[in-house]
Symmetry: C2
């Protein structure tokens, strides 16, 4: 049987406000979950400042390393929105005013509201295709394997949902979780044994600490579902054999 | 007058659970704010998986590029906690059982609770010094300019607060914010003009969208406080000259 393909993605969060701690990113978790359901694994995320050369270098480095690159931030109407120009340069080209983007923006804004700053949002790299923005209309764009999205979470996330059907995914990684009410060190051997016994299954150990209810969530992840469920049955049996109650989870 | 020094940091978030979207990172914003108050600017953050070679490559790349590197995640007692070994290898060394770390853990755990898995948490790279963990005792460590912290936010953040006084900061970047109840495109010219007129001031434009209260926060940032306040006065005057009401902020 052919192995299902592994399809990878990187996410570049462009924005001084995230790096300064003024704003908490909310887009990585959303993107990673949505892509995961489509069979695309986010293998790296970077938060970088609004500096043209940094954007160029980061896009060039990641675009050859993964199947899909996504960026968020810096495609608005103001002086600090430099993403489109930087990405054009990363691909050795320049931006131009895309006629379809102008038409979209003209339709969106009321008479007299389509000012010169907003017109800047119609500029995309030569060779790029537009990505639909169902919230505020100003489109993102795609050039080569790089998908350029807005930074505002409501807009970014709607754009992701619009473009998802156009992406070719590979093997979907599923997860199985069980939670026990004891510390992770007490069951470290069992988890390590299962990780070693099931080569394609990733066993994650996530301790949590709440007043009166500390414990460990064991998260098994893999794209071979039969093997995943076998690993789940194995860890469950190992814990039950030690008399450890499984408090919640996907076990039968 | 000598320019105050610019001191930089990078943050490496190590964890499959952040990349899969299962867990939302909460440490970047905290670290960036705390470091910022100390005069250390976070210039890049990366989220990477629990893969040894990726950790090694990322640490090596960033350690030579910034003044301080911080990592979070992967220093617990289980098989997927590979950060200490990976960072040892990044610096061409190996981990060993640090006697002081053993003593700290022995004091922390009740009789019979200091099991072999927990003992793993006493292993740090040769040449590393320990970083105090006031929450769960298991120490982090520092090797060269790399500070290795826990991933659980409550623990990570307490460790940051413990080590902050030992860090040498540079120029503190302050910010001034004013908020107007109009879209950013309408005041794009004024913001661009101020950015151009004040070379060392970064002018950020952050639109927000709420039912009935959309607007723009203009955030000025810089370490030259006199210049920062002059830039604030300038943008305020430019907006008021156009009859635009400043709804909230640091203006007089």
């Amino acid at each position: 049987m052919a192995q299902p393909t592994r399809v990878t993605a990187a996410f570049i969060i462009i924005g001084n406000e995230i790096l300064s701690g003024r704003t908490q990113d909310a887009n990585l978790a959303f993107l990673a979950q949505r892509l995961g359901e489509t069979g695309i694994q986010v293998v790296e995320a970077r938060v970088i400042p609004d500096i043209e050369q940094t954007i160029i270098d980061t896009v060039r480095e990641l675009a050859v390393r993964v199947d899909y690159v996504f960026t968020s931030g810096g495609i608005g109407p103001t002086h600090d929105d430099i993403t489109a120009d930087a990405i054009a340069r990363a691909f050795g080209t320049e931006t131009f005013e895309h006629p379809e983007a102008v038409a979209i923006l003209e339709r969106h804004y009321a008479e007299g509201e389509f000012n010169p700053a907003r017109r800047k949002m119609a500029r995309v790299p030569r060779g790029a295709s537009l990505l639909e923005n169902p919230v505020s209309s100003a489109p993102g764009f795609k050039i080569e394997n790089v998908h350029v999205l807005a930074g505002v979470p409501k807009i970014m996330q709607a754009m992701v949902d619009m473009l998802l059907p156009s992406l070719a995914g590979g093997a979907v990684v599923e997860s199985r979780t069980i939670t026990v009410l004891i510390g992770e060190s007490v069951i470290a051997t069992e988890m390590g044994d299962v990780e070693a016994a099931f080569a394609d299954i990733d066993v994650g150990s996530y301790p949590y600490f709440k007043p009166g209810a500390s414990g460990t969530s064991i998260v098994l992840r893999g794209s071979n579902i039969a093997m995943l469920d076998e690993a789940l049955a194995t860890i469950t049996a190992k814990l039950e054999a030690r008399g450890i109650e499984i408090w919640a989870g996907d076990h039968k």
